[in-house]
Amino acid sequence: MTTYLIRRLLFGVVTLLVITCFVYGLARNMPGTPLTVQLGETDPSRKFNPEDLERMKRIYGLDKPWPVGYAQWLGNVVQGDLGRSISRKQPVATLIAERIGPTFLVSGTALVLAWLAAIPLGLYASARSGTVDERATSLVLYVLYSFPTFVAALFLQIIFAVWLRGTNWELPLFGMTDLPADAPLLVRITDIARHAILPVTCQTYVSLAYDSRFIKANMEEAVRQDYIRTARAKGAGPWRVLFRHAFRNTLIPLVTLLGLSLPGLIGGSVIIEQIFTWPGMGRLFFESIRERDYPTIMGLTLMFSMLTLAGQLLADLLYCVVDPRVSVE
């Protein structure tokens, strides 16, 4: 077990090194630097003169070739310092800490809602497999599964923010809150909740459709096994067979799926956050690429990759918990 963990961790470190080095090289080779892209676009007169630019480049360490810059970045990261954002003049760690809450609010709620609905739906579909109502539900879920999030988001925006404008059903289009920070707590919570409804809906329906199909597929595999026939033969009721015998055996793939959803949970969805201008991690990522904000890009890449690796490891470890026959060796 210990050797397994050590091997996984070592490989994880190598993976992180390869990925960060690659992304750093890519980012530094994108045309423009954080100093030129942002200011030059908004106002040509605010462009730095050449001497200032050189000076700024030296301050941010952009005058050196990228492998040197990468080595410096890596040295700082090992000491626990993610660096300072160039375009936002704040430590990257602070930026990430600010954004993690809003992202988690949306993705966490969506994850819980999706699983709460997906498990009963999946079980229902496999219990009533082949009937008309099951086919109708499955078809609806299938349609939802193929429905692109950004199209759904735009549809929802048109319905709730344009067509229903002025009615009780109107929902805010953008952002997380319209209120100042000193508004009463309860009012603020309701306001944030109203802003969160559309993004949460968008994120929920995709995972709901995927998860329930996944559960149904696994259940169909499980009910064909011999032990289900045995359970039926010994007189167990249909629900008991479904829950105790079939569903418990489909937990393994479910656990893997849960592990793999970890990076999305904290990383958020770039597209949904971008459409609803939700101040989360995905949007930060998108903006930092546009602003060529190398420290933020790197900080987020590091975090994403670590989460992906952690999710995979977690899934593999949970495997052994759920199924005692599986051993990590």
Binding site: M30, V151, V162
Partner: protein
């Protein structure tokens, strides 16, 4: 004549096709994709402002080919100063000319001007352009016809799916086959590389590579989607090759002296192809999604190429123009749905375990 020939049992693919054909949804999806191919191939004849065929100064021309590639547009019209406007110029410069026009006289790249088509007003611009008899799907902010844009964007949607999954499929199959068949350190290496690529956030990779390019075109987008989307295929191929490597027909092939390349290509690959084709079909759907979301975010191919996603991007600045969302949105959705249905039909038609369940 062939009376003595033995009755051949139908092969695996004939059998799979027979089962696939029995699924109405999968067949409808296949019909829809074929329709899209037809639309893509005939796009200039469906919507355009250039004649499909015309007779001008005693010779036949097909100016509509200019929509596929500028160089295919006959140079005589540029020389005669047509400036892209055909209907009046044809009549004025050669009264004896005739032309076969596209079904819908609208251009995907520019707004149709007043009286360009005799007696027809200019396209409405800004948020005026609701769907009408002239502009079937309405017009965008600049007055460009959405129907024409979408018809010409079909090519992109289809190409994205095929080209990027062609690339992803080739990389995935080669990597997975080498790892699965050769095993040992090769397997170790390919598996680790696959895992590393899986960990790179795809969207970041795509966005930064797109930013790297001086002039990103639709082909770059396809190449990048392909170069990042092969991991799942590689893992599946590896699994299939690992399994089939042990089988008796491979041992038999090896005993007859077949080399590793021959065994991989001729003996294992055809047997592993069915399960590999399924994720490739699903991959086409997700490639189309990725491309349209990139265009939607504004990272797509630059204008004038009209991708469905970029029409949606136009809608973001003015949501009251619902027609800019509904038509391309539904088109993307239907295409993705069609490929998913085909993938599922393929899976059910080729996977023997699923077949038994249907008894």
């Amino acid at each position: 004549m062939n009376a003595s020939s033995p009755i051949r049992s139908s092969g695996f693919w004939a059998e799979a096709w027979r089962r696939f054909r029995r699924k109405p949804l999968a067949m409808a999806a296949l019909a829809f994709v074929s329709l899209l191919m037809l639309v893509a191939g005939l796009a200039p004849a469906i919507a355009g402002t250039k004649p499909v065929i015309c007779r001008y100064k005693g010779r036949l021309y097909a100016p509509c080919l200019g929509y596929f590639d500028r160089r295919l547009e006959p140079t005589i019209f540029a020389k005669d100063k047509f400036r892209g406007t055909y209907p009046r110029n044809l009549v004025e410069k050669d009264p004896g000319s005739w032309a076969v026009w596209p079904l819908v006289f609208q251009d995907p790249y520019r707004s149709v001007r007043d009286d360009e088509w005799p007696g027809r007003p200019a396209n409405p611009a800004r948020d005026e352009g609701r769907p009408s008899r002239i502009n079937l799907f309405g017009t965008d902010q600049a007055g460009v016809d959405v129907f024409a844009k979408m018809v010409h964007g079909t090519t992109i949607a289809l190409l994205v799916g095929f080209v990027s999954m062609g690339i992803a499929g080739s990389i995935g199959i080669v990597v997975g086959a080498l790892g699965g068949y050769l095993g040992g350190w090769v397997d170790m290496l390919t598996s680790r590389v696959t895992e590393i690529v899986m960990c790179i956030p795809t969207l970041v990779l795509i966005l930064s590579i797109m930013a790297l390019l001086e002039k990103p075109t639709i082909w770059h987008t396809m190449a990048i989607i392909g170069a990042t989307g092969w991991t799942g295929i590689a893992r599946l191929t590896r699994g299939e090759f690992l399994r089939l490597r042990q089988s008796e027909f491979v041992t038999a092939a090896r005993a007859t002296g077949a080399g590793p390349v021959r065994i991989m290509l001729r003996h294992i690959l055809p047997n592993a192809l069915a399960p590999i084709l399924v994720p490739i079909t699903f991959g086409i759907a997700s490639a189309i999604l990725t491309e349209s979301s990139l265009s939607f975010l504004g990272f797509g191919p630059p204008p004038p190429s009209a991708s469905w996603g970029s029409i949606l991007n136009d809608a973001r600045s003015n949501l009251s123009m619902w027609w800019l969302v509904v038509f391309p949105g539904v088109a993307i959705f239907l295409t993705v749905l069609a490929y998913n249905l085909i993938g599922e039909g393929l899976q059910e038609a080729t996977d023997p375990r699923l077949r038994e369940a249907r008894k």
